[in-house]
């Protein structure tokens, strides 16, 4: 199976304080491989380094050591991002634009011809159920609608790899269900989905494989069913065991 996303001994340090003397290791030495067509869950408690890893993959943060590749191309080269779609945790879009204008803007960035862009925009607005609101400014949208615009922009270039950072964060159960359905549909179309999430039930439902990191180190990786079998519990219990959570005994 060919590898679509890969990190090799990825290390990220942040320096802060006067004279930059304080160093925080956000990622120790991360080795990850995601295969084509997989739905891959990237799990870890808050501050584990999930977002830092995604930031490196997207070229926002340069690695201190090691390397990361998308489609075999070093992520430091912008062309590595030509075939990916990214959905951030919260909605970050130009609120003075309408959904249609926003999608047209991103389509132009990918160099889509006008007719193809028009077709794609129509398809995506239908997929995320925003056809009625396409001419309204994004600032007038509810949080769920904004997240769906986010999903539409992530799909504008018909990407082969989707990177989703907590895609269902803050959504109501209906919104979560819709996002889950879309992920499932993309999987059926043969797309690769790499996503971080705290919703372990959701991960168990949609993911083929998962990686669990804690304090910048990879703790476990494998098929969800294997991890569950290995720990003789559900994914939540397995996750807590792997990150070393010790329940405090009731006094």
């Amino acid at each position: 199976m060919s590898i679509i996303l890969k990190t090799e001994k990825l290390r990220v340090e942040f320096t802060s304080g006067e004279l930059r003397q304080t160093t925080k290791v956000a990622l120790g030495s991360l080795d990850l491989e995601v295969n084509v067509g997989e739905v891959f869950g990237f799990l870890g408690p808050n501050g584990a380094g999930k977002t830092t890893a995604i930031n490196v993959l997207l070229g926002f943060v340069p690695p201190t050591r090691g390397a990361a590749y998308l489609f075999g191309i070093d992520v430091r080269q912008p062309i590595a991002r030509q075939r990916i779609g990214y959905l951030p945790e919260l909605t970050y879009y130009y609120k003075f634009l309408t959904a249609e204008e926003l999608l047209r803007f991103y389509a132009r960035i990918f160099g889509l011809p006008r007719t193809e862009a028009d077709q794609r925009i129509d398809q995506l607005l239908k997929l995320v159920e925003l056809e009625q609101a396409r001419k309204r400014p994004i600032k007038s949208y509810s949080k769920g609608m904004q997240q769906r615009v986010g999903l539409a922009q992530a799909l504008i270039n018909n990407p082969d790899l989707l990177i989703l950072d907590e895609p269902t964060s803050g959504l109501d159960p209906l919104g979560r269900m819709k996002v889950r359905e879309i992920i499932q549909r993309l999987k059926n179309e043969g797309k690769t989905v790499f996503f971080s999430s705290h919703e372990l039930g959701e991960v168990e439902t949609v993911c083929d494989r998962v990686a669990i990191i804690n304090q910048g180190e990879l703790k476990a990786t494998g098929r969800v069913s294997d991890l569950v079998a290995q720990h003789q519990a559900n994914l939540e219990k397995a996750f807590l065991d792997i990150v070393g959570y010790q329940p405090q005994s009731a006094s």
């Binding site: 942040f14 926002f60 960035i109 990177i163």
Partner: protein, 259 residues
């Protein structure tokens, strides 16, 4: 070019959907019309005062639009986090900076055009005289000067994350250059060392924005500027604009952006 054009388009849309430009235009129009209706000292050449006031307001308004629009671009992208989905696409940081620059420059140019059309209508209706080529030279030189100001503001917005401080610093710097920049060499002559060297160094380093100001030629009908001088001024502005954009890119290209 497609990416730069798309980025510039968003900046232009943002400008015409915000109220800054309209407020400044209405203010300029009201003050100019009010000034035009008053008869100062029963002077038959009253239109000169109107021209003077209107041009001063156009210069101040254009500088405000250019600096305020530019200074907020990158900090606002980072604060509202719109920069993340954008840079997650195949957009280089160089393209991002160029897109912002061209967007701000074109938006300011459009605003400038509206102001000059208003100026031409007001003064032309009073004088029955339309020196189109002088207007063209004035608008072109002012726009070229604004390219330097916009590039400088963009550079400032990389150093300081707060748009308000970038705006203030840039406005003071630009006003300082326009008001005293051209006299620094004269001041240097009367100084002892090392102040003389410092003043001369500043004089030769700063972009001389005052060279682009041909308001007096328009007000007193002194005729056209030599076209060769216009070309040289354009090249001079392009050189400083390029320098500031290069500094902006150097400061921004390796900057970590944490979501």
């Amino acid at each position: 070019m497609n990416t730069i054009g798309a980025l510039a388009g968003v900046v232009i849309k943002e400008m015409y959907r915000r109220k800054d430009f309209y407020v400044l235009f209405v203010l300029t129009a009201l003050i100019t019309i009010a000034a035009g209706m008053v008869n100062f000292f029963h002077d038959p050449k009253i239109v000169r005062y109107v021209k003077d006031i209107c041009m001063l307001l156009i210069w101040i308004s254009a500088l405000l639009i250019a600096i305020v629009t530019t200074a907020r671009q990158i900090p606002a992208e980072r604060e509202s986090r719109t920069i993340f989905p954008l840079l997650a696409k195949p957009v280089t940081r160089g393209q991002f900076i160029l897109g912002k620059f061209f967007g701000c420059w074109l938006a300011t140019g459009m605003a400038l055009l509206v102001f000059y059309v208003f100026f031409a209508i007001i003064t032309g209706s009073r004088e029955q005289h339309w020196p189109w080529l002088t207007y063209l030279q004035a608008i072109w030189l002012q726009w070229a000067m604004l390219a330097v100001v916009i590039a400088l503001s963009l550079c400032g917005s990389i150093i300081s994350a707060a748009p308000s401080s970038t705006t203030t610093i840039c406005f003071i710097a630009v006003a300082g250059i326009l008001l005293v920049g051209g006299h620094l060499n004269t001041v240097a002559l009367h100084q002892s060392q090392p102040l003389q060297t410092i003043f001369y160094t500043i004089y030769f380093l700063i972009p001389h924005l005052e060279w682009f100001d041909i308001r007096d030629r328009m007000i007193y009908d002194w005729g056209l500027v030599n076209w060769l001088d216009c070309v040289l001024a354009t090249l001079y502005a392009a050189a400083y604009t390029g320098l500031f954009l290069l500094l902006t890119w150097l400061g921004f290209r390796r900057k970590s952006l944490n979501t």
